[in-house]
């Protein structure tokens, strides 16, 4: 095995199946990689002992050729937002820095049942609030990609699933889980040259995934290619009676349909996504994407999503509103950090002042404000109405087309420390990903080229509810025709 680094899940599985390599060997290989790339700060907690145990069990299954799961023996990273039984789970926050759950999230449980091996818990923006992975209590994550023009400049991996994206991009694991509230899977995948899939709201159970904004949060995979994405998504999702918003829709055999092509598929191109600040390299790449799909027999259709420009403000009312309630449980009473105080109010104030970082506090304050008496109608209620309009935009568009192709982000990975002073500029990172989140639609980001500096660009494909299959098919075509794997090297 000359270069295990380049392996994808599907390739690794082949090697494991024909027993050219053992899961233990593969797992140990990643131990070394993780130890050598600590400077990227991808992992909050390494779980090497656990990984060895799990990989041994997988090897046993390969040996017996029995009960081999979809992810059998595949070492992965788990975003530290998913509760893992007896393994520290922090959500990137000081307030949970020593929190050890006694229960397992459904998504991680599903992955373990399919044989995945846990290398560690990956870094993230605190409570998944951020677009650059700079808000983590455990420090920022560094993107392994470098600009040709400035080799020394450290770039952000995007966020909030920055640790997961950076770890996969740096080959510290074969794949990793992410969670996406307004773009937290797709944007870092795009910044790190990876495939990031946010499935339809309800596909993956939210049980045991620490909540940011419950009506938007959705788990999904961050992988090196589209086929891996389909394999991992299939492993992650399930109907779960422990999550009342989880869907009972049948789960298709995603890996089977990935390569079926886009012939006859109608691809919508929304005018409104040509936003201010859309980088010209990105725009050019988008045009290429249109041509690639067309060349494979897709029909290109101009569509309108007239409320697109309202999506970001809507999102930044609804998500903080939900977060302000979701984060009320971190009060220092039952678990997590507790700072002392002379009375109850002081315990609350001191604990939360010390336990939460600035971005989290900002969003709790915004959320509390928009729900307050006298402001509720003007902000929260109005935002709910606009959300409906945005959803309706998509429904109408999908009368004419089967999927929508857009860039994932207006720009590419930027330097650590940039855009830190102006939260609004930071929020603009999500302007193209947020609409699909508000509408609960499946959306995938697939790497589609490099910009002038040699940094990855991603294209986003949005489809109808529960039609992840079309996302995968179109993404696979773009992956092939963009020849991204060659560009990368």
């Amino acid at each position: 095995m000359s270069n295990l680094s380049d392996l994808t899940i599907s390739q690794a599985k082949e090697l494991l199946l024909n027993r050219s390599i053992s899961s233990v060997e593969l797992t140990k290989f990643f131990f070394d990689k993780i130890s050598n790339f600590k400077n990227l700060n991808c992992f909050i907690t390494e779980t090497f002992d656990q990984a060895l145990k799990m990989s041994k069990i997988s090897d046993e299954k390969y040996k017996l050729k029995k009960d081999i799961g979809l992810m059998e023996g595949i070492p992965i990273g788990m975003k530290d937002l998913f509760c893992t039984n007896q393994i520290k789970t922090t959500a990137g926050s000081k307030i949970l820095k020593n929190f050890i759950p006694f229960y397992e999230s459904t998504v991680s449980k599903n992955l373990w049942e399919e044989g995945a091996v846990l290398l560690g818990k990956t870094n993230l923006d605190e409570f998944a609030m951020g677009s650059a992975n700079t808000t983590s209590f455990f420090g920022n994550v560094v993107n392994p990609w470098k600009s040709k023009n400035d080799i020394d400049k450290k770039l952000v991996p995007g966020g909030s699933s920055g640790g997961s994206a950076s770890a996969v991009a740096a080959d510290l694991c074969l794949a990793a889980t992410g969670s996406d509230t307004g773009g937290s899977i797709r944007q870092p995948a795009s910044f790190c040259g990876l495939v990031g899939m946010k499935p339809t709201y309800g596909r993956c159970s939210r049980f045991g995934m620490i909540a940011f904004a419950s009506s938007l949060d959705q788990a999904g995979p961050i992988t090196k290619d589209v086929l891996d994405s389909s394999i991992m998504l299939k492993s992650m999702c399930s109907y779960d009676k422990k999550d009342s918003t989880s869907s009972k829709m049948e789960i298709p055999d995603f890996p089977k349909i990935v390569k079926l092509g886009v012939k006859g598929i109608r691809v919508g191109i929304p005018d409104e996504y040509i936003v201010d600040g859309l980088n010209s390299n990105v725009n050019d790449n988008w045009q290429k994407g249109i041509e690639w799909l067309k060349s494979e027999g897709a029909e290109i259709i101009e569509i309108n999503l007239p409320h697109t420009q309202s999506a970001l403000p809507t999102y930044y009312i609804l998500a903080p509103a939900e977060a302000s309630a979701n984060l009320a449980r971190y009060d220092g009473i039952r678990f997590g950090l507790r700072e002392i105080g002379k009375d109850l109010d002081e315990v609350y104030k001191n604990t939360r002042a010390s336990g939460f970082g600035n971005e989290v506090k900002r969003r709790i304050m915004i959320g509390t404000y928009v729900l307050s008496a006298g402001y509720y109608d003007a902000y929260y209620l109005k935002a709910l109405k606009v959300r409906k309009l945005i959803s309706d935009d998509f429904s109408k568009a999908f009368e004419k087309c089967d999927c929508i192709l857009t860039p994932t982000t207006p720009g590419v990975a930027f330097g650590i420390g940039e855009k830190q002073d102006d939260p609004l500029e930071m929020y603009l990172n999500d302007v193209l990903t947020v609409p699909a989140s508000l509408a609960g639609l499946p959306a995938i980001s697939v790497p589609s080229g490099l910009n002038d500096e040699g940094l990855p660009i991603g294209l986003q494909i949005v489809a109808r509810p529960f039609d992840e299959e079309t996302c995968f098919k179109a993404a696979f075509v773009i992956e092939q025709l963009s020849n991204f794997n060659k560009l990368k090297n």
Binding site: S214, S244, R329
Partner: protein, 483 residues
């Protein structure tokens, strides 16, 4: 206007509305599978959801939904096919999530009513709404000098908040309302109505006004745990408000607490200090959608409720309205009565049930007659009285001993030698003996002092040790004296 507060200047009407929190009788909590059993070790009935752990999600307990619908139907209320759970946000140590899941704008049950028998007659009290919500845990402050403790066993238990219209006008009406509501809940089985255990908790909104004037500013008195205290609290609070207004001050909208030791209410927080609960729809829970069919099915399964039962009792058994009202107020009593009365004289059954048995139950602090004496055992006693084997008086004397013994009525009568003497010759012998021994009295009787009849009866009963059949003594003595 039977009830009023007399001020210096005028009479004041008291306007009262109630918010009743009734814990639903279900094995598990509203959104979690934890047990709801009472009296368990602290924090032994708590799961992730009840403790507000990260990543925990609520899942509605359909049994609780069913109970709320049944209760709504029992209160003649509109059942809403779509209702929404909201988060009510506030910080408190016994509120683990930092919010209570409740229903705000779209409750599961809309307007309805119940009937009370007030002094002035039958009165219809409006129910504004009934909604489902989570209970909080319990803070315990008396275990340690420096620390408070939290017991989350109650956290997440299902409550129905039942809100009345401000239709009540006196403490006694409030008492009747609570008793009626509790009775309906028990009939339906949706809540055991136990106030001591906190399974039924009452907040009262009190305001006063001059008769026919606009509604006054109300104060809410929270969490009073007995009907007696509720009545005291209302009295006190209404007088306080009248005093304030008559001395030129205004009543501030407040939440107040009742101090049962001092018998007074005191301010807990003013309207300005009241929380902004920031209600918003809980994104973890889709709207609660009910099937029409389910509601129709539940309607068919609804038990006969006290109002209907009362009418049937009056019609079927020819008993008085007052007695019927007493008999139907507790489901167990009504059932007991019906079993007992089956082939017996209703009047006699009512007298014995509401008289002797009730006074025994009261003494022993029991609710359910069945727990004191079985229908069969009680019935046999009544039958022995009825056929003349046992006198009413003797039966009453022996009643407590009888209930508490393991003997049947006939066994007891035998053992005590209590069988009534109904043998004509034996009684005639007794009469002769008494008349012999009281010649002087007999002469007086014959000379016109007929009142002495009672004296002779008493003497006969005495020598019979109370066992002579009184009716036969009467008849035979009359016959003998006429000679």
């Amino acid at each position: 206007m039977s009830y009023f507060i007399r001020g210096h200047e005028s009479k004041w009407e008291v306007v009262l509305g109630l918010e009743v929190h009734a814990q639903i009788n279900s094995l598990s909590k509203l959104f979690s599978p934890s047990s709801t059993g009472y009296g368990a070790e602290p924090n032994s009935q708590v799961n992730l959801i009840d403790a507000g752990m990260p990543g925990a999600l609520p899942v509605i307990n359909q049994e609780c939904v069913k109970q709320a619908v049944i209760t709504g139907l029992g209160l003649n209320a509109k059942i809403n096919l779509k209702s929404i759970f909201d988060r009510k946000n506030y910080f408190y140590p016994d509120l683990p999530q930092g919010y209570q899941i409740s229903q705000f704008e779209n409750p599961i049950v809309g307007s309805g009513h119940l009937i009370i028998e007030a002094e002035e007659g039958t009165k219809k009290i409006g129910i504004t709404r009934l909604h489902l919500e989570q209970d909080a845990g319990k803070s315990i402050h008396d275990q340690d000098f420096e620390n408070s403790f939290i017991d989350l066993n109650r956290s997440g238990c299902a409550l129905m908040e039942i809100v009345s219209e401000p239709d009540l006008r006196s403490p006694s009406e409030v008492s009747l309302y609570i008793k009626k509501l509790r009775s309906i809940l028990r009939y339906l089985g949706s809540c055991d109505g136990n106030m001591e255990k906190g399974n039924l908790r009452v907040d009262v909104n009190v305001s006063v006004r001059r008769f026919d004037a606009e509604l006054g500013t109300r104060c809410e008195i929270k969490n009073i745990n007995s009907i007696k205290f509720i009545q005291q609290a209302i009295e006190y609070e209404a007088r306080r408000q009248v005093k304030l207004i008559e001395s030129g001050k205004i009543v501030e909208q407040q939440t107040r607490l009742f101090d049962s030791q001092k018998g007074e209410t005191r301010a807990m927080r003013s309207k300005e200090e009241s929380h902004d609960y920031r209600y918003f729809p809980d994104p973890d829970l889709p709207p609660l959608i009910l099937e029409k069919k389910m509601i129709e099915d539940l309607k068919l399964q609804l038990p006969e409720l006290p109002d209907k039962k009362k009418i049937r009792f009056i019609e079927t058994y020819g008993i008085k309205k007052y007695d019927a009202e007493i008999l139907v107020s507790e489901k167990e009593v009504a059932e007991y009565f019906e079993k007992l009365v089956s082939d017996r004289d209703p009047k006699m059954v009512v007298t014995w049930l509401t008289g002797e048995l009730f006074s025994y139950l009261n003494k022993k602090n029991l609710d359910n007659p069945q727990s004191a004496i079985s229908v069969e055992k009680f019935g046999e006693l009544l039958d022995l009285i009825n056929d003349g084997t046992l006198s009413n008086r003797l039966a009453k004397e022996l009643f407590v001993e009888f209930i508490e013994s393991n003997m049947s009525a006939s066994e007891l009568v035998k053992k005590k030698g209590m069988v009534q003497i109904s043998d004509e010759n034996e009684i005639i012998n007794m009469i002769e003996t008494v008349l012999d021994q009281n010649q002087k009295m007999l002469e007086e009787y014959r000379s016109g002092k007929e009142k002495l009849f009672g004296f002779f009866v008493g003497q006969i009963m005495k020598i019979s040790n109370g066992k002579a059949n009184p009716q036969m003594v009467n008849t035979l003595l009359t016959k003998r004296l006429k000679k």
